[in-house]
């Protein structure tokens, strides 16, 4: 237990330093700051415009009303903004880090390799996406006259944390494959596209292949479950299953990374 607390303290200290360094980098490259902010605004508004257009000629999709679908769009921006802000840049660099043998340097450091591969870069500009998401969600909830109590809000925040954990673990599982296929530099691009699955109700995937459904199941719940929580439609069983799924995926992804490292052959391999 003492070792656990010591490690937690050590990693908290390192992460605080990373937060500071990344903030300094954000201010150092101002053109990139402006450019990234524009790009993230475009994608945040795209998610909302996309749902507005898709629902312009139909009032219900698989029993979900237009407003409920718009809530999913707002949620998508909120939850993915956290994931993109804290982890996606690290995942983007997976292939080049492994392909050019830079993982050697990471493995020799006295810090966990998974932590260094995924948590080193923080992209603060994704905050704009969070602002869009929160603003839009608040607007839709207001028009639907949904009252969010502090308890519901607390439950929502907890579920958002586990949603991000599921997305992180899913990405980790897939990106670990670059240890065997380091030239697949566009694997992260594929995952960005696959993330889209989350912004639609789970019901639409019922007709899809069973294998595909099992593989993509985690992503079909990451937005829907917190959305149901905020609409006060979530069941206790759903929440328990959701949290169990998040923890299990995290453990599996971590073990898979450690297993994969045995096959890492550096740049000369």
């Amino acid at each position: 237990m003492e070792i656990f607390f010591k490690k937690t303290k050590h990693y908290t200290k390192v992460y605080k330093m990373l937060l500071r360094l990344n903030f300094a980098r954000l201010l150092a490259y101002r053109a990139d700051l402006v450019n990234s902010t524009i790009a993230h605004t475009i994608w945040a508004s795209f998610t909302i415009v996309q749902m507005l257009l898709l629902t312009s000629k139909t009032s219900h999709i698989f029993g979900w009303s237009r407003n409920e679908l718009l809530i999913l769009a707002g949620m998508y921006n909120i939850i993915y903004s956290f994931f993109y802000m804290f982890f996606s840049r690290g995942f983007n660099q997976f292939s080049t880090t492994i392909n050019f043998g830079r993982l050697d340097g990471i493995l020799t450091k006295p810090i966990d390799s998974q932590f260094l591969m995924t948590c080193l870069n923080i992209t603060y500009t994704h905050l704009i996406r969070l602002i869009w998401g929160v603003g839009f969600l608040a607007y839709v909830l207001f028009t639907m006259r949904v009252i969010v109590t502090p308890l519901v809000l607390l439950g929502f925040i907890v579920l958002v944390v586990f949603s991000v954990m599921i997305i992180y673990s899913f990405w980790m599982l897939i990106m670990t494959l670059t240890i065997w296929f380091p030239k697949l530099s566009n694997l992260a691009d594929l995952l960005y596209q696959i993330n889209q699955i989350s912004k639609f109700p789970q019901e639409i995937y019922k007709g899809a292949s069973l294998y595909l459904l099992i593989l993509l199941f985690p992503l079909t719940v990451v937005i829907v479950t917190p959305a149901k929580e905020i609409l006060q439609k979530v069941l206790v069983g759903d929440v328990i299953g959701f949290i169990a799924c998040a923890l299990m995926l995290f453990i599996v992804s971590r073990r898979f990374w450690r297993f994969a490292l045995r096959f890492y052959t550096s740049a000369s391999g």
């Binding site: 524009i38 790009a39 257009l53 009032s59 694997l187 889209q196």
Partner: protein
């Protein structure tokens, strides 16, 4: 002979990259597949049956794979911003045509994957597809698809060479991608948009990149309408070509590269 060798070299280069090309292909099919599943849950859409919607998106996957060029990032970032253009300028061959043949090779390879996917789907669900049956319509549809490829190529070249003036191009590329996804018909058939928006979008060049080629192959257009589409495609092609030429002439004067 020289041109043929250059084309073959580009093909060689592209085939070397086949695993990444497969991932790029997968990338292009995700949105249409999600949309097929999405519309299955929608109430009735006037003028479109469920099979027609599925058929639309599957054809959109293939047309997108064959037609939608993706060279703008390479042109803007690697060639113009990082200075790769210098080596091309010294070669006795036009930079424009080199990029064109490279993109042609990519499109053909991705198109083969798209056609394989179509064959699989037609094999499993033969009644699902609505294709044009008249030879006249099919012939005109092929011409429309070829002109659409030229249009997307020149349009993406224009976006790429904006890097002569922009120090950061990501915002411009992202904005273009979003506009193409929404207005080209990749997200949804333009007929599903609110009517006022459909009227505007159907006059824009994006609609001639995916939407009109797809509905042409589906047999949703009469011969007269096909000629109108072709006319509009040539109109936008001419405009884009003029803009490209002007921008290239001005941009190349701006271009600087350093080396030791």
């Amino acid at each position: 002979m020289r041109n043929l060798k250059i084309i073959l070299l580009q093909f060689q280069e592209v085939i070397e990259d086949r695993s990444r090309i497969f991932v790029w292909f997968l990338l292009g099919i995700i949105t249409p597949l999600i949309m097929i599943l999405f519309w299955r849950g929608a109430s009735h859409i006037p003028g479109w049956t469920s099979n027609e919607i599925t058929s639309y998106y599957l054809l959109a996957i293939i047309i997108n794979a064959i037609i939608m060029c993706q060279q703008e990032e390479h042109v803007g970032t690697i060639d113009i911003q990082e200075g790769g253009l210098s080596s091309y300028l010294l070669k006795p061959f036009s930079y424009f045509w080199l990029i064109f043949f490279n993109e042609l090779a990519y499109r053909l390879l991705q198109g083969i994957l798209g056609i394989l996917l179509l064959v699989v789907f037609v094999g499993f669900f033969p009644g699902l597809f609505a294709f044009a049956k008249s030879p006249d319509v099919l012939f005109l549809s092929v011409i429309i698809a070829i002109v659409a490829f030229l249009l997307t190529f020149i349009f993406k070249m224009i976006i790429g060479i904006l890097a002569f003036w922009l120090t950061e191009t990501r915002g411009a590329f992202e904005a273009t991608n979003v506009m193409i996804v929404i207005f080209s018909g990749l997200l949804m058939p333009l007929a599903f948009l609110p009517s006022w928006l459909e009227q505007i979008v159907s006059k824009m060049p994006f609609a001639y990149m995916i939407y009109f080629p797809v509905i042409a192959f589906e047999g949703k257009l009469t011969v007269l309408e096909l000629w109108q589409v072709l006319f509009m495609e040539f109109f936008w092609l001419g405009i884009c070509l003029l803009i490209y030429k002007k921008l290239w002439q001005e941009g190349i004067k701006q271009y600087t590269a350093v080396g030791q």
